[in-house]
Symmetry: C2
Subunit: 403 residues, 2 copies
Amino acid sequence: MHHASDILLTIFIIFIAAQIGAEIAQRLKLPGVVGEIAAGCVVGPSILGWLQPAQIIPGSPLDVLAELGVVLLLFSVGLETRLDDLKKVGKSAVLVGVLGVLLPFGAGALWAHGEGFAWVKSLFVAAAFVATSAGITARVLQELGVLQRTESRVILGAAVIDDILAMLLLGVVSSLQGGGSLDVYSLLLTLGGAIGFVAVIGWGGTKVMRRQSGWLEAPISPHSALTLVLALCLGLAWLSTRFGLAAIIGAFLAGMIASETRQRDELEHKTLPLLAFLTPFFFVITGAKINLAELASGQALLMLLVVTLVAIASKLAGGFLGALSLGKRSATIVGFGMVPRGEVGVVIASLGLAAGVFSDRIYAIIVAMSLLTAMVTPPILAWLLRHAAPADASADSARESGQ
Amino acid sequence: MHHASDILLTIFIIFIAAQIGAEIAQRLKLPGVVGEIAAGCVVGPSILGWLQPAQIIPGSPLDVLAELGVVLLLFSVGLETRLDDLKKVGKSAVLVGVLGVLLPFGAGALWAHGEGFAWVKSLFVAAAFVATSAGITARVLQELGVLQRTESRVILGAAVIDDILAMLLLGVVSSLQGGGSLDVYSLLLTLGGAIGFVAVIGWGGTKVMRRQSGWLEAPISPHSALTLVLALCLGLAWLSTRFGLAAIIGAFLAGMIASETRQRDELEHKTLPLLAFLTPFFFVITGAKINLAELASGQALLMLLVVTLVAIASKLAGGFLGALSLGKRSATIVGFGMVPRGEVGVVIASLGLAAGVFSDRIYAIIVAMSLLTAMVTPPILAWLLRHAAPADASADSARESGQ
């Protein structure tokens, strides 16, 4: 009758750890998310071992809860974002997305080749330098209540483009690594599919919703509006994985579409308890994946330092140059906003380990770099946003976020 | 990067199936929960096969989501229940709990012995007739908005007692089956532990909360009240499994404690989106566990019919006799409210299968009986509640449930 006992204890530990971590971080004037990731590291296999490595592998119940948490987070960020706002920053977002992929990819490849990898393998390692994890930055922007700022919109738009390009790049380096020739036709097909998906869902969905948000009111159930858009969120999250994109891209688009409905405020309000319950799993489990043991040597730490600096500098440079038309201060914010690699770097590193490209140590270092960029970015971003004047007037527009 | 694709599709399917099932049921004037269970049977292994048997075993991600769903459901039911209300119906609840365990246990043992089981094995089979699943009834009562009625309070109080007795009974028959002698001392210790847990948490927790609900307002985070009581809910759900009770008992107590705080209405309101998102998993997966193939013979169907009638009649009789002081109409409502066996019968049947007591067919029949009682009860209960005058005035007291 009580098989659920162990998993309930683990869920309780994660939930409590997240609250304590967030509370401590906030008292230290740091974003709560830093505390949640740190709490994950503490309760994870590296320190206390209350979470076992087997409990946080892909497909495990905790991993699924984490995935739902980040999907709902990006959905709620989408709810606070309108297509028209993204369109206004379209050019900057595309530039940030493209440069923010090319510079880290180049820098990563150079670093890996310098470390003695053959060029083809270097490109695979470099792919782990590329993909921004929108979850971390989105949470910081949401925590600070600055999702309406121009910089935030550029970051969110660029994150979509970043994910499309990173997905393509991973396809290219995987096929090169597999010894296959580069099938340009199938790559173009993949690119076309991904762009088509985003365009059809983003533009088409928005248009449909603007005209007919009445259908959300039709059914009987009192929670119909919420359950219908949650279904939309889950459906698009899944569909975007079918186009090779991250689930959070689909969830973000679902939120953006839903933000065009009349029930927008109600939906935003009702999503908050879901975020409070589920997003801690994502951040705690992200932190739990840090393997401190593999890094317990001076040489490994030095390498980690170099890799992290390369990863930060190259992404920062790409984002900064792409957003320079907004002014240096805003460009810096955008640049740092793109820095966190989070779970995406972890997943690419896992693929590299499975493909035999990465050694255990390189794997641990890439994972640690991904998570380190996720840890150091939020405080910097929060500091910059608190001390920078808004780049445009809309930042002060009254936000009807319900608490 | 996209390992999450399959599980996201399954989650989407379950969520959509639940909404469609609930909608159809409500248009047929049936409780939504019947539609959700039926939808689970349709998408499950028996019919469409969109859910694989391996995806719904204990400990799988979907099973964990289902467990969280029913834990949150009983937490929210607890939020609408005050200890003082339960105390008023204490005698009836104890009588219903005790008779509602003894009669089905006796009837089940007689039936099993009649089917040719030795007495010791018959007692094990009989244990699967005993435990009421509070989740199904609680959902129906909540859907109809009648949690404040006397009958509802008797059912909820009796469900706690039922779970304690069922747990003890399972301990007894397991040790008899294992060939061990009956250790009365350790059984008394278990009983004392379970009653102590419920008493300390229920009485003590309520007293503490009445005096100091101010501590819920202390921390910084805007969701502090909600996250703190969610942590309480998860913690007590786990703790109650340590005392041999179902997780939902701890969750119910957590809700009951939290109902004494000043933030009660706010908490009730914020729990609704969590229920909307997570409880469908519990009911759909309950339905998916029905194995129609094992029942596809006239003989099996006849046996299922007999077992189900024995299970319903014995539980109904126990509940009816126990609650007779409320009048016949109310006693009938209480009796039917105790009928659903749901997942608890399934789990005991699994234990019996693992212990070699049950054949595959008996297992399938006990599981089907458990789920059948869960399916047939909600419409009867809803009909009785809609057509019966409230047993006391408090049923009409204004409820400030937020939608």
